[in-house]
Each structure stands twice: as C-alpha cells, then as structure tokens.
Amino acid sequence: MTPGDGFISIRNVAKSYGAFRAIESISMEIGKGEFFSLLGASGCGKTTLLRMLAGFEDVSGGEIWIDGQEMSAVPPFRRPVNMVFQNYAIFPHMNVAENVGYGLRKLNLPKTQRREMVEEMLDLVRLAGYGGRKANELSGGQRQRVALARALILKPKVLLLDEPLGALDRQLREQMQVELRRLQRSIGITFVFVTHDQEEALTLSDRIAVMDGGAVLQVGSPADLYERPASRKVAGFIGTMNFLRARVAERANGRAHLDVEALGRLAVPAEATTLAAGSPAWIAIRPERFALSDAPPADGSYAVEASLELTTYLGERCRHVVRLAGHETRIAVSAPNARRHQPASLDLEKPVWLTWSEDAVIVLEEDRT
C-alpha cells in the first residue's frame, strides 16, 4: 500500500513524554476492512499509538488521517473509531444492556428500537439473555464481549482493540480469537488490534506491523513476516529461527555464494540478497525447514553431519537439538510426526544427517545498532 491511500493513514507520527520518545516517526497505511495488528514486546509503544488513533493522546509530530480526514483537531467523542480497552472499562454502575446501549443516547431513537439494537448486538457476541446482569457478575470472557458489543453498536469505521484477549486463559482466548475473526469478517469493519502474542497476531491478522522501541520494523502479511523477515530482529521475534554467521563470498552467474559458519559454502539466487561480495551477513533457517535422516541424502542436496543432543516430543511434532559435527554450533530442528512416533528411530548415539533445500535459506543484513 502506498503512502496516503490507506483508510487510516499514519504519517510520520511521533510521540514524546517529556524528554522520552515513546514513538519515533512511524508511517503506515491501513486498508478498509483490514484486520491489522500491532505486534511488539512490552513497552514498545503499541498502546500509545492506539491511544493516539482514538484521540486520548495528542501526537507530538506528524498526522493521522482516518477516512480522508485529518484527526489532530477532532476530539475522541467525534472520531469514527471505537475502542476496546485492555481492562475492558465496563461501566460498573450499569447492567450489561445499559453498557451496550451507552453510545445510543445521541441518536435519539425510540426506546423499542434502542432495545432491539442492544438485543441484536448481544446476539452477535453470543450474550443473548445477559442484558440484566451487572458488570461484576460476568466472567472475563463475557466482559470482553460486552466491551466489544458496546463499541460495535455504533457501527464505527474502525475498531481499536488493546490486547483484548490478554487476560483470558488459553482455551477461552482461542475461542475468542475465532469469534473476533468471524465478527470482523461478517461486519467488515477495520480492526486495529494490539497484541504482544505473535501466535495470536499470525492467526488473526491480514497484516501485521512489528514494532520495537517506538519504531516499526516491518509491515507485512503473516506469511511475509514469517517467510521473508526483513531483519534479524523480526526474524527472531516471529517464530523460532536458527541464525548463523555468514559472509558473501562472491556473486556470479545469477547466484550469490555465501560462506556460512559450520555449514560451509551455500549458494542462493542473486535476488535473495543485495549485499555485495565481502559483506558480513546472517543466514536464517526455520527449524521445520531442516530434515534429519540416518544416511546422507542420495540426491546431493545440502547436508551436513551432526549429532543429536536432545529430542522433545510435542505430540504433533518433535523438536530436536543437534550439534554439527566438529563445531559448537547447535541447530533447532522441528520435524512433524507424520507416522506414529517410534522413539528408537533416531538414536542419540548415532550420527545423523541434517539436510535442507536452497529455498529454506534467508539472507539477512548485519543489524545496524
């Protein structure tokens, strides 16, 4: 998406608290109807960015445009966005139906219609019949759905969600993820979703912005971020990754050749890296892109000898740690249990062969820090 054509357009937005720069000049575009996630470690500025979108914090620099309108002079109660707060912020002195219908006062609707809309919303979030309950008589998941219904009843153009599932247990969280996704599809509202859980972001999002220290490292689809991380930080943040030091040896015949620690010389297509010959680099390979076998592969694909150090059985897959023969380097390997597990098939004593294919290799620049 090019600058300026997003439904939400964040242009060079910065935020300082006194001398502390919480956000440094972020730009990104979020499309209409997109499920967009902000992903990053604690304290990286996700909430701050979201609160600037909602209008609770002024921007220190830059502009936020929503649906073709510049937002700096628009107070929170006039913005076409609604928010689901991290702690839900349910009104404690009102029951569920009053909470959900809170935003309807200004529409001056007849009472019956208002009640219908509330009922409809409660249906949508699967809380039909809970209208008379007090807020403190609800479970965490139910509160979260009340907060959701309360924000959605105004049919906002954008829904902001600040780690709405953070307080829920794993099972409920997964259930709510499915419901969120279903809701978002069925009503077609743009969601901006804050999370520090990379798995959650990958499951839910159309696109994800990975943030770190007040800056955006990379914006892309889950597959983009997983398969083509732009930097070592992103690669390390999303999923598990093996990193190995490397140096670009030469570029020739449309291929780039790299000398890699412990693995020897590898060739990748020239497009895989823009680094010039002689520059230091990292290569990154996902654990599941390796395979282990008892014997060297016959087809001459990449293989090195290694010894198995540790195997962890995880049900659907096994996680191995292997040490490359003659080196201290350890590699994480993840192998699906395609057949029923046979503990003896890989022996801790016997040498094994670690194989991978060319397209498993990701070449990354040395991080500038």
Partner: protein
C-alpha cells in the same frame, strides 16, 4: 464475614480494649437521655420516675421550633454548597493537572486544625469591617468554611479509586465532558456525595462556636440550648432537646459512613459477594 484467614481472626484483647474505649467515651453522653426521662427538675440521682413530659413540652414552644427551622435551613444550604464545592475540588485534585496541587489540598484541609474560636473571631472581625450585618447568612458562611474539608475528604477517595479509562470509554462512545460527568462520573461518586451531604449537614447542625460569633437575632438550635441553660426550670427540656439532636446526629453520621463505603468495599468482601448467589 467469618474470620477464616489469619488477618481476620478475632482478637480478644483488642475487642476488650475497644469496649472500654467506647464506654469511657460515651458514658457521660448517655447521662443526657437518662435524665431527659426523669420526672424531677433537678439533675441528680436517684431518678424519680419515668416521664415523656419534657419531650411533649418542646412542641409547644415556638422558640424551639423557630431555632430548629433555622438550623435546618442553614444545614441544608451549607451541605449542598459544601458538597458541590467539594465535588469540584476533589475532581480538580484528581485530574492531576494543577500545579502546586499538594499545597492546594493542604490548604483546603486547613480548617480542620484551626480552632473554631479563631475562625469565629476572624470572620466576625471581617464581617464587621466590611459592614455585613450578622444573620443566618454569615452563620452559613462560617459553617461552609469548616464543612468544606469534610466534603473534600469524603469525596476524594471516591475520585481516587476511579479508573480513568472508564471516562475515556465514555468519550470514546461519543459523549463529551459534560455528559460523561453526568452519565459516568457522577453516578460512580454518588455514594460519596450522599455521605458528604449527610456529614456536612450534621456538622453544620451541631456547630456552636462559630455560630455563636456570627449569628444575629436568629438563633440556631445549639445557640438556643445554650441560652436556656441560665434557667434551671428549662433544664429538663434542654436535656430532651439535646437527646433528640444526639440521636439524629448519630443516625445521620452512621448513615453517611455506611453509604460512603458502598462500592469501596475491601477486596475480599467484593470477592465474597461475587461468589455468593448471583
């Protein structure tokens, strides 16, 4: 609450101490109602038989009723004003946007520690200098000064235990500051407001020293009682009146404290309520 946990276990010594403390504190006061039911005019043991005559007497005296009416009028006005001002003050203090805010809080609380007689004299001098005639209005002004800290102290915990994101949620749902205040903030601090009204009314109703300096011809109830003390024949009626005031004050203050605690319950109580039948 059953004291199931270590911290809630009953403590005998502490209970005994509390009983002794309360007895010493209130025993002298209890003499008032005791003698107000006594047939004899003189206050002395032994008691001489039970009567309600002094209470009945009260209703036939216009001056008592006039003083009562004065006290109620002043009390109502003062409690309303003090609570309204206290509401604004507590709000401003908790918004944390004021520079030098601790100094302001300390200043608002100052009347609590300044002796009433000093306040009374100071205000009397002030009013006579600027030529304001003494009346129930000057009395009300004096009461307002001493009631304000109580209003602020009652309301402040309400605002402080307040999650700011609740008000943000209201703004987010389209309500501006005015509506947010009336739909969210005010209902949530309402128990504090009621408590403050009752408390400040009681304080104004019972106030003597400042009233003594600032009242004109219209006496409030405490002033009336004081003026009657010169006449031994009136003493039993004064006792009866004092007993009534005592009872009313007790009820009001206890109601105020009880209401003020609604929703500020300790966590374990809230927990217990949640687990109870829904």
């Amino acid at each position: 609450m059953s004291g199931g946990s270590y911290i809630n276990r009953p403590n005998r010594a502490l209970t005994a101490y509390a009983l002794v403390f309360l007895t010493v504190l209130y025993l002298p006061v209890l003499a008032l109602p005791l003698f107000s039911f006594n047939e004899s005019i003189s206050v002395r043991f032994p008691l001489q038989g039970f009567t309600l005559q002094w209470y009945v007497d009260l209703w036939s005296r216009d001056s008592v009723l006039a003083a009562l009416w004065n006290s109620v009028r002043v009390g109502v006005c003062v409690s309303l004003l003090a609570t309204a001002l206290g509401l604004l003050a507590a709000r401003a203090i908790t918004l944390r946007r004021l520079p030098g805010q601790n100094a302001i809080v300390a200043f608002a609380m100052l009347p609590l520690v300044i002796p009433g007689i000093i306040f009374g004299v100071a205000l009397l001098i002030l009013f006579s200098r600027i030529g304001v005639p003494l009346s129930l209005i000057t009395v009300g002004f004096g009461h307002l000064v001493i009631c304000l800290p109580f209003a602020v102290a009652t309301l402040l915990p309400r605002f402080e235990g307040f999650d700011r994101s609740i008000e943000e949620a209201s703004a987010d749902l389209g309500e501006n500051g005015w509506w947010t205040f009336w739909r969210v903030t005010f209902p949530m601090v309402l128990p504090g407001v009621v408590a403050s009204l009752l408390l400040t009314f009681t304080i104004s109703f019972d106030e003597f020293i400042i009233t003594f300096f600032l009242s004109g011809y219209d006496a409030t109830l405490p002033i009336y009682i004081w003026s009657q003390l010169r006449f031994p024949r009136e003493f039993p009626s004064v006792l009866a009146l004092s007993t009534l005031i005592l009872a009313a004050s007790f009820i009001l203050v206890f109601t105020a404290l009880w209401i003020g605690r609604i929703g500020l319950a300790r966590p374990e109580e809230a927990e217990a309520r949640k687990e109870g039948p829904a």
